[in-house]
Symmetry: C2
Amino acid sequence: MSPTSTLGEQLDGERFWSDLMDQARFGALEGGGLRRLTLGAADNRARLWLMEQGEALGCTSHYDALGNVFLRREGRDPGLAPLLIGSHLDSQPCAGAYDGTLGVVAGLAVLRTLSTLGIAQRRPVEVVSWTNEEGARFAPGASGSAWFAGRRDPETILAAQDDEGITFKAALADCLAQLDAHGAAFRPEPVVPHAFLELHIEQGPVLEEKGVPVCVVTGIQGVNWYEVEVNGQANHAGTTPTASRRDAFMGAHALVDALTEAVAAHDDQVRFTIGRFALSPNSVNTIPQQARFSIDLRHPDAEVLEALDLAFRHLAEKTWAGCSARLEATSRVAPVAFDERLVAVLDEAVKARCPQAPTLVSGAFHDAIHLAQLCPTAMLFTPCRAGISHHPDEHIERADAEVAVRTLADAVERLLNEEETLR
Amino acid sequence: MSPTSTLGEQLDGERFWSDLMDQARFGALEGGGLRRLTLGAADNRARLWLMEQGEALGCTSHYDALGNVFLRREGRDPGLAPLLIGSHLDSQPCAGAYDGTLGVVAGLAVLRTLSTLGIAQRRPVEVVSWTNEEGARFAPGASGSAWFAGRRDPETILAAQDDEGITFKAALADCLAQLDAHGAAFRPEPVVPHAFLELHIEQGPVLEEKGVPVCVVTGIQGVNWYEVEVNGQANHAGTTPTASRRDAFMGAHALVDALTEAVAAHDDQVRFTIGRFALSPNSVNTIPQQARFSIDLRHPDAEVLEALDLAFRHLAEKTWAGCSARLEATSRVAPVAFDERLVAVLDEAVKARCPQAPTLVSGAFHDAIHLAQLCPTAMLFTPCRAGISHHPDEHIERADAEVAVRTLADAVERLLNEEETLR
């Protein structure tokens, strides 16, 4: 390594960007964007492309029982746990070219830099593409990383079916056969990494608004989902005096007032969204009998989520405009705080290039949520235009992405130079 | 007429109730209630039954181009405009036995009383059953009365189709053929009545709550319908900070707050109902792009409706939680105030039996809304259990209904004894 220049500074930004453009061919849609559903033809070709790129750099290719693909640059001490970098190559049905892929191609760019510079690092470095992060073809998503981290039962994953009745198991068998035919080595057991790093687009507006090209992500918000039911009494809209009404819409309206007030009592990191709302019988001239709505509640701090959960439950026990309410939690995912030491290393690398960078908590899920249960994990975000993702309009600025990938390489350099392990 | 007893007191309550039970056979549903869609077999049989009842009392039977059926008890002066009493015999698809029918059978009970007592009144008295008040088979409703009062073009009425593609015209031809075969006389032109009286169930909770068997109705509320659209920006529920959101649900919520505040500035006769509400894309973890909701706004006073219309329009021009709004009036029906002198006559008859009776404004439409444009018109209400109608659970107490029909007879007596006409 040059004593005067960081690994990131020596990274070939031109090649990084052309790799990113190259991979966008697999599943490209006419008019822009791509469709690369997990374990489909385009997704499998992207896996093979990744292996070919790694092999050209002298890396070995591996795959596991879930079709997760690994490129390994051997270390001077092959027995050390590898430093793992990556994300996913699959996409939503009508998506952009950066969600996931950016993090895989960024890992490849780091391997390419180590190789070009002929760096013989002590610790093995691996780049991974996780299978089925999106969950668009087979729900739920993050299958590969959840299995790898021992967080999800393989039988449950394999039994999932797509819209055409094809099982995850059948689609996976086809993929594994292609990887085997390519000559990649099968790795039956997960190798616990030294640490996992994931660069991802923000999928939110903050970095663009602040004009910052990269920042460290300190964790992933917890999410509670609720279904709320408000039960009143249907009646004629013309003949029923206001005082005699038990109007489920007005009950829901009053309850929403109280819920938003409970939310406002906490900090501005709370995300509170009512995304679904339905009335029954849903007739212009009938007082609603029932209102049903969803709540998506997020916060990085488990205690805040618990306090709001309690507050919501108390509110649901009250009467609203003469109506009874019922609140049911339909999903709970606890917040994840990334490893503090790893976050500090990444933040140093970020601040060296961008002193004004904030730290963010991810509002969306990522494979890192599962890896964090297995090894020190942290993420970097780079901005995407207007926060748009899962759409062909998803867009990143090349200049921003280059700063982000150079920052990732700098962080890798810092980690490889560390004497002690993170744990 | 007995000098010591009113017409109402001499009315045969037993027979009135058995008539009401008799007509409930036509279209009776297993388990209660009835289905007597307009111009269907059951509705036509109910027409013939009515004619037979009238003819047995010495009345003549008439029908017109819309299938409206009239029983006429001739007056000593046949040239005088008839006093018209009635309502409708058709029903909603799954209805009770009183909505409409009560008013027709009550008119028949008045004819029966005049006949039994051998009263030779000067002015002709007629009982009518209007065609298609409900509008359940052929929309919109109140076809017969609207045509009779010159308020609706016959071609438009005849062109309406039911769910099976049968036209009003075809169904009507079948009905008219049956009426002709029965021997009823065809009346090509409407005969403008001296006055029109309609007894109807309240279809609201007020009289039951007050424990009052009958009251006079002073008019029919005006109704404005609106469609409101609130447009925000769809975004990820997890990654979009609260301050960056343009949440269409929260915009609609704030606008509803302002609308209800505008309503609260008026008296408690305002009826304000949001019966339909929809979000788009209606996904748990997506901030709503659009909210759409309906408003049903009613008041007896046109000026109040106009003031609220203006207030609603001003509110829709503002920004709500960062969202724009659009308000469109989809329907407007002006309020009707019934003839003051006729209302006074009815109210005297009501107060003689029930001094504590309130006066009400009808929240629902009735055939009287059209007749009021043609001749002095007023209505009586009698309570129905829990305000329920358009359902087999629709129920009236026999004791209440008897007081109501006796009150109607008393009012008829007062009108027949009047020297001068109402106009």
